[in-house]
Amino acid sequence: MKGIVDRFHRYADDYDRWFDDHPEAYRQELALVAAGTGTFRRGVEIGVGTGRFAAPLGLCCGIEPAAGMARLARERGIAVILGSAESLPLCDGAFDLALMVTVICYLPNPAQALAEAHRILAPGGRLVLAFIERDGAIAKKYLCDGEKSRFLSHARFFSRGEVEALIAGAGLSSTRFTNAANGFAVTVCTR
């Protein structure tokens, strides 16, 4: 974990610039995630990065382990907390929405992170989980291409079946998968 977190800390500006340099890809990803988040009362993004999803989607709170990223998320108005997905510093049942976008591929223990997401959700609360599919076009493209490879070459991608197993293992039920047809998948899970 330390290696990739340090990389996100040092290259936070580069990471953030990607969204300005690729407005169409960003717009597509944001629309897919927004369709999953819908309406909610209090939401947290786990692995909030620089706030590129939490801010436009109206999630008030963000957890982020890399200080350089957290500073940029704070500038976007997110109440950001330095923290780890596997050991969330959040109270039981405090949220009705948790969001994770391209996060599980970087986690040393994704099963524990999903168990923690379950813990902080109120009964009936939703986890919106967006991930890059192992055999999808994005996974293949970015592994050997440009700025994103700086981060994604450290990632461990999952298939839909593996993600479903992780979701079930955390006691969540997965309602549907949506997909931009290029391997960026979103699923909505209910506690």
Partner: protein, 59 residues
């Protein structure tokens, strides 16, 4: 961090409640200070408005 954030924060290790100590704040939020876990005694800093609740050893 805003003061009302404390309502949803807990110790990342033992999930105990946190006690806030303020060193510097403005009209909106706490800029410098610390959060002490009542249950296990771990202390977490607040720096430049951002609470650092990474579990000890992760940082």
């Amino acid at each position: 961090m805003r003061r009302d954030l404390l309502d949803i924060l807990c110790c990342p290790v033992c999930k105990g409640g946190l006690v806030l100590t303020v060193v510097e704040e403005n009209d909106e939020e706490i800029l410098e200070g610390s959060l002490l876990c009542e249950a296990c005694g771990a202390s977490y800093p607040i720096c430049a408005g951002i609470p650092n609740l990474l579990p000890p050893g992760i940082e």
